[in-house]
């Protein structure tokens, strides 16, 4: 057998292919390790760029990318003897079948692993480069390389290799191998679909043939420290996955080996049956004359002939089995991804059409690009492959017709595939019982916009094939073109979509707003690219190969002549293209502007360098604002004027007013559209580029004095943009907040670059995300973390919009009237609030209800009425709980207002809660099972809670303040939910929260903070917040907990600065927590604490009528530092021990037979209980209240001794 292995090795070592593949892999990984621009499978964050876990994950990703290479090796090894005809010699020589079969296999597998070793090469070389930042790298840790090879490189090559090798040996058909490779990919993609649902995670772990899913499950709670130190070891589901798939691969190999034989090989010969005539033709039978058929239409062109050609070419594609199989695989992939519409917390969503379209794009488009790549070559080379080209070329058929019939055939085929996907989409929607199909949205998205985009690709693919006239180079050139086109423009910092081939401004379809603001840009950019493609068609056509003259220079000369002949037509299109291009340029570059991310960041940097000096300068603060807003939704125009009053609340005189202009302001085009009028003040600095102004007052503003300021701004939409911006202002669903239109006073820290690595690269000093938690830092306590130029402000608004829309501003509606075909509304805020509110206008349906004099309102669109009653219910229940437990609600209304899905969030403003259309309005709550979470109810309760936590009690601009807004809001929502749905429902919710926290800290970019110091860290203040607050409530009691919150409100609600810090809250908890539980405040709020609780053994013995249960447990407690480095600390904790009866629900525990909160001080403990019912489960911290990275081993089935 060795001679076959060594033959394969020697053969491949001499081929350039192997070394090219190795080079490609090495370069990719080298690039990812040594630069910031290249990423493989997502960035690495704060982990060292050569950390063992990173190297291992590169092995994982590369083993997927190398699937193509593996296919090449396996196919070539398996088929070489056949394609070269050598098999007749090989098989007739005295060799053993298994030597041949396995020898070649082993040789090919060994070779296929070699390119993957480029991962190690790249990862070792990268850090040695002179340009890298040394602090981003750790020492070389070999176990990353080892486990990458052991867990991915070898098994994945064996898995893919076995399948591909056996397919190649048995079917001897490239196409079958290709399909095999696709199948593996489909398995992978399907399994990825299950990862978002915690309940189905195990399925993903098992189904993924490459083992990614299992790896990410295994590592998702790993801290940075751990990721820097070790790779994931083969254990648990990861090990099972690797064993199962490798085992399957080997079984397949064995099974196919039995089918393999030297004799029945030449399937092609078998298949082919040569016809042979029996009759002989006598000369005398034939007419002596050959009848003449003259062509009566010497023009050579007719539509019917053209149509015949198109049909003929289209059939070539669609009747081909590869096409059919590829489309089928794509459809299966699509159907698999359509089987679940899962949003947050595992909740289902209605399959709205735009979502289905996104699924189609995700599941199918790679296949379509593959089809275009493959079939452009097939069609162009069809005649030459069939060796019929000489006949065709010598016929009088026009080259133009030959070319365009191929082009149209490609377009047709893609169109047919797209229509199939739409049918699948509609069927899927029907299967969900959803019947609002919106065929026009399907057609516009897929059959028009996407179809055009595919058309451009087809034209370019044909161009490459005709121009290059070498199929493989042309394939390569096309793929390289797509890839280069994908990144080159951002690398060159060219952001114009006029250069990025085939690109158009991105479009987000919204149920509320349709294609809204994107339409005109789409039309013009598509016209531009279509004209461009037509010109490309002329070139491709001119280079068409007719006859034997394939020399490029000859064809170039000939092409010149052809183009000259077509000049009238061509110049017409050239003129149209130039005109269209000019118009697009005028709209995107002259009427509007755009800047690259780089340029934007450069401005951020300059802003910081230039104006940070003013950060702590005393500025007056807004106290009263009167808005006059006119929205012209259909023109996308906006006129805002604000009469504001500012007061000098500081102790010093103020001479200068510093203004940051809002995001609607764009100096380059909207010259002087921001007017600021201040009595007796002169504009002393007007930095248009950085949008900063300084006005100097003639008379300094004395402490306590007030100053009226008038501000006017206009946002007009002119033409179309390179990329539609400010979608906040739109046809149906205008939704912007005061920061969008109103200048802020003083230096704005929020404009600084925040990313740690980026700052380092741009040579900016290290920046704190938020100031340290320090009660004596009065400067930071002078502001909330929301705004820096005001405290509690009085707001009145007069807002107008078109007559078919409703406009909403903060507060109560005082007046409503119509004038000149427009609707006017006047709103007054009932209670002075934070200077943070929104203005909204759309065609709404309104659902109204009253709860104790408070208006409950939901503004929504007709198609999204599903959850409106639920929202009203949640508002009502929230108000009940909050007013009873926390304190009064100060507004006269609670509004939930739907806005288009250009943003996807729900946000709380005073009395008003805008809620994105994709977030809760289309959540499907029809089949909520007993452990499902009602996300809609939850989010409303959370936003309602913000009316207290943020809009009454708001923390200083300092670490930890978000705990008082977000963690308290999470707690409040949990309590409302618990009251509505019962305790059991909380478990799934908390499970997701725990998961979110643990994986969030694993991806932390800078440093994990304890809860009371959270700084812009959602996974801490939302998710850890839920877990911790709920547990704290469990320990100190709901009533006690709520009293603490109520007292905090009493002390701090609507208070002028200094604003409270999280220390006030921590103190309040301390004061109301019994001595025995004081440790909880340390553990939960002040430090990062983790547990490792586990049941070692659990058994029972029947004693008379009763059962004696013995539980052996193991517990550890850790403190973690900001990088996740753990150190053990002694236990002195109350932990729950429970014994549970049998239950039918697999996801929940049964009735507790014993449930005790016991003080645990030892690591190993043994507990004995007597229970009257047969025990089923036993556990330590069975409900997972404590933070534990392995929550599943807390409970164990009880066995009989």
């Amino acid at each position: 057998m060795w001679k076959f292995i060594s033959y394969e090795l020697k053969y491949w070592v001499k081929t350039p292919m192997l070394w090219i593949f190795l080079l490609i892999v090495t370069l990719l990984v080298f690039g990812a390790v040594s630069s910031e621009q290249i990423t493989i499978g997502g960035g690495v964050g704060s982990v060292f760029k050569n950390a063992p876990s990173v190297v291992q994950s590169y092995y994982a990703v590369m083993s997927l990318i190398c699937l193509l290479m593996t296919t090449a090796f396996m196919n070539a090894s398996a088929n070489r003897d056949f394609s070269s005809g050598m098999y007749q010699f090989v098989f007739t020589s005295p060799i053993k079948k298994h030597h041949y079969f396995f020898g070649k296999y082993i040789g090919a597998v060994m070779i296929a692993i070699i390119p993957l070793l480029g991962v190690s090469l790249g990862a070792l070389l990268g850090p040695l480069m002179p340009w890298v930042q040394p602090e981003r790298y750790g020492p070389v840790i070999w176990n990353g390389h080892l486990h990458g090879i052991l867990a991915f490189a070898i098994p994945n090559t064996i898995i893919a290799g076995s399948l591909l090798y056996t397919l190649a040996v048995v079917f001897r058909n490239n196409i079958v191998s290709f399909i095999g490779a696709m199948l593996i990919l489909v398995f992978y993609v399907v399994s990825q679909g299950f990862t978002s649902d915690l309940e189905k995670e195990w399925l993903a772990n098992l189904l993924d043939p490459f083992g990614f899913a299992a790896l990410s499950t295994l590592t998702k709670y790993k801290t940075i420290e751990e990721k820097n130190m070790t790779a994931a070891l083969l254990e648990g589901q990861f090990l099972i996955n690797r064993l199962v798939w490798t085992g399957l691969a080997i079984i397949l190999l064995m099974a196919m080996y039995t089918r393999f034989s030297f004799t029945s090989k030449d399937r092609r010969g078998k298949k082919k049956r040569i016809l042979n005539e029996t009759e002989s033709v006598e000369l005398s039978q034939l007419d002596l004359d050959v009848k003449r058929f003259e062509n009566n239409h010497p023009k050579n062109f007719s539509w019917s002939g053209f149509w015949h050609m198109i049909v003929f070419e289209t059939k070539t594609i669609t009747k081909n089995q590869v096409f059919i199989i590829l489309v089928l695989i794509g459809l299966i992939n699509l159907i698999a991804s359509l089987t679940s519409f899962t949003g947050n917390y595992g909740a289902s969503k209605y399959p709205v059409t735009y979502d289905v379209i996104d699924y189609i794009r995700g599941a199918f488009y790679l296949f379509l690009i593959g089809l275009i790549t493959f079939y452009s070559g097939v069609l162009v080379w069809k005649e030459r492959d069939a060796k019929i080209s000489e006949i065709q070329d010598a016929s009088p058929a026009r080259s133009g017709m030959l070319f365009s019939s191929k082009l149209i055939a490609m377009l047709f085929s893609v169109l047919m595939v797209l229509i199939c996907t739409i049918i699948v989409g509609v069927v899927a929607q029907t299967a969900y019982g959803y019947t609002r199909y919106e065929l026009d949205v399907y057609a516009k998205s897929l059959l028009i916009m996407d179809m055009f985009a595919f058309g451009y690709l087809i034209v370019i693919a044909l161009l490459f094939h005709y121009l290059i006239n070498n199929r493989y180079i042309a394939y390569f050139a096309f793929v390289a073109f797509i890839i280069v086109n994908e990144f080159i423009w951002s690398l060159l910092e060219v952001n114009s979509k006029m250069l990025d081939f085939g690109s158009t401004p991105s479009v987000i379809y919204s149920d509320m707003n349709g294609f809204g603001p994107f339409v005109s840009g789409q039309i013009w950019f598509h016209s531009y690219w279509t004209l461009f493609s037509i010109i490309v068609c002329f070139i491709a056509y001119a280079f068409i190969v007719r006859g034997m003259e394939t020399n490029f220079l000859y064809r170039l000369k000939h092409a010149g002549a052809t183009l000259k002949k077509r000049m009238p037509m061509l110049s017409l299109f050239l003129i149209l293209f130039v005109l269209c291009g000019g118009y697009v340029f005028y709209n995107t570059k002259v009427l509007n502007t755009f800047s690259s991310t780089k340029a934007y960041e450069q401005r951020q940097k300059e802003y910081e360098l230039q104006y940070k000096q003013y950060e702590n300068m005393a500025q007056p603060r807004w106290v009263k604002l009167d808005y006059h807003i006119d929205i012209y939704p259909y023109e996308r125009d906006l006129y805002v004027s604000i009469d504001a009053l500012a007061v000098n609340k500081s102790a010093e005189e103020i001479r200068e007013l510093h203004f940051n202009l809002p995001s609607v302001y764009n100096a380059q085009i909207d010259r002087d559209t921001m007017l600021i009028e201040i009595p007796n003040a002169t504009l002393t600095l007007d930095d248009k580029r950085l949008a900063y102004r300084i006005y100097t007052l003639e008379q300094p503003l004395a402490p306590g004095d007030s100053l009226p300021v008038k501000m006017r701004t206009v946002k007009l939409t002119k033409g179309f943009e390179n990329q539609v911006r400010f979608t906040e202002l739109t046809q149906n669903g205008t939704f912007f907040n005061n920061f969008d239109v109103m200048p802020t006073l003083g230096y704005a820290r929020r404009k600084e670059i925040t990313n740690k690595n980026k700052r380092e690269k741009m040579e900016l000093p290290k920046r704190l995300r938020l100031p340290f938690l320090d009660e004596s830092d009065t400067a930071s306590r002078a502001n909330t973390y929301i705004s820096a130029d005001s405290d509690w402000v009085e707001v009145t608004t007069t807002i107008s919009t078109s007559d078919d829309q409703i406009a909403v501003a903060p507060g109560s509606l005082v007046k409503e009237w119509e004038d000149d075909g427009r609707k006017y509304f006047e709103y007054h805020l009932d209670k002075n609030s934070l200077n943070f509110y929104s203005f909204i206008s759309a065609r709404y349906e309104v659902a109204r209800e009253k709860w104790n004099d408070i208006d409950l309102e939901v503004y929504y669109i007709k198609a999204h009425a599903y959850n409106v009653p639920n929202m009203l219910n949640s508002m009502r229940k929230s108000l009940e709980y909050y007013t009873e437990n926390f304190g009064p609600y100060f507004h006269k209304q609670c509004r939930i207002i739907e806005f288009p899905r250009y943003s996807s969030f729900a946000q709380a403003f005073p009395g008003t809660m805008p809620y994105g259309e994709g977030v809760g309005f289309i959540t499907d709550l029809r089949n909520v099972s007993e452990d499902d979470i009602d996300v809609v109810f939850y989010i409303v309760a959370h936003e309602m809670a913000h009316q207290y936590w943020a809009h009454q009690l708001i923390g200083a601009n300092m670490r930890g303040s978000e705990m008082m807004s977000e963690s308290f809001a999470q707690y409040s929502a949990l309590m409302v939910m618990e009251k509505e749905f019962g305790r059991d429902k909380m478990k799934k919710f908390l499970k997701y929260e725990m998961n979110g926290y643990l994986s969030g800290r694993s991806g932390e970019f800078e440093a994990e903070r304890p809860l009371m110091e959270t700084e812009n860290q959602g996974y801490i203040h939302y998710q850890k917040g839920s877990v911790v607050m709920y547990y704290l409530k469990e320990m100190i009691g709901e009533e006690n907990f709520n009293r603490i919150l109520a007292q905090l409100l009493e002390e701090w609600a609507y208070q002028e600065p200094p604003y409270p810090t999280s220390l006030s809250a921590v103190r309040a908890f301390r004061n109301h927590t019994p001595d025995s539980l004081q440790y909880l405040i340390d553990d939960l709020l002040e430090h990062i604490t983790l547990y490792n609780n586990r049941v070692l053994e659990a058994d029972y013995q029947k004693v008379g009528d009763e059962y004696e249960v013995t539980i052996k447990t193991y517990s550890e407690k850790f403190r973690a530092d900001s990088l996740g480095k753990q150190s053990e600390i002694p236990l002195h904790d109350f932990i729950d021990i429970g014994v549970f009866a049998e239950t039918k629900n697999k996801k929940l525990l049964g009735e507790p037979l014993v449930y005790q909160r016991l003080k645990i001080t030892d690591k190993e403990n043994t507990f004995r209980f007597r229970v009257s019912e047969k025990p089923y489960h036993a556990g330590i911290d069975p409900y997972n209240y404590l933070i534990d990275r392995l929550p599943d081993d807390n409970v164990k089935k009880v066995s009989e001794k």
């Binding site: 033709v281 062509n295 006859g547």
Partner: protein
Amino acid sequence: MQLSITNLNKRYSNGVLALDDVSLHIEKGMFGLLGPNGAGKSSLMRTLATLQEADSGSASLGDIDVLKQKDAVRKVLGYLPQEFGVYPRTSAHDLLHHLAVLKGFNDKKERSEMVDYLLNKVNLFEHRKKAVSSYSGGMRQRFGIAQCLIGSPKLVIVDEPTAGLDPGERNRFYNILSEIGEQVIVILSTHIVQDVRELCTQMAIMDHGKVLFSGSTDDALTQIKGKVWEKSVEKAELKSYQEQYKVISNKLVGGKPQIHVFSEMPMNSGFQPAEESLEDVFFAKIHNLV
């Protein structure tokens, strides 16, 4: 209508001189183009079939400038390349229809009538539903002829059509070809002397891109009449004979080499006069003996 070729030259990019000052004059009827492999026959045919350019020289078919007015040539051309394939899984009927569309027969009824007639003509009508790729060599060549005849061409070019056909198939093929030859110009290139002998009255011999002879087959034979002598020799003697005489050819007859020798003078010492054949003309020409 006649085809005249004047001083045609073509050199390939690899330096091979494919056509070296080729001039021919071809009238209606079968014209045989004889030459060994690589003589330039196919280059000439392809040039005439508009598939290849010439470096210099001219060719005209009646009023048509073959080198410049390609479209005009294509309209009156029937071309059967040396090697041709077909689309997989496509029946003769469908393929012929397709090719007829390429030749501009857009009217469906007219086209169907012609396709059926042609299939009948070449005796493939009963096999018309079968894939052409499953045809035997002879059937496939007859299909090739059928497609040649679409639209009643005035110039038919068939390049090495009989290679690989068994004798029966070859005969059938000749029958069809000869019929066509009665009406239009048919150029038949071949390296098989017998083909020309049986079918053509006019012929040319080519080698290394040059025309070594052109004229009627009878003229050709006259050139060597009485000047070819044959003798059976031992294998060992072969070399010395080749040095001594102008050996036209040697072949095995009954396992023993038989040589043909060119000599203006009568020969003795065991040489017998050989019956003059085109084959001898062919070899004599390419060995530059005449």
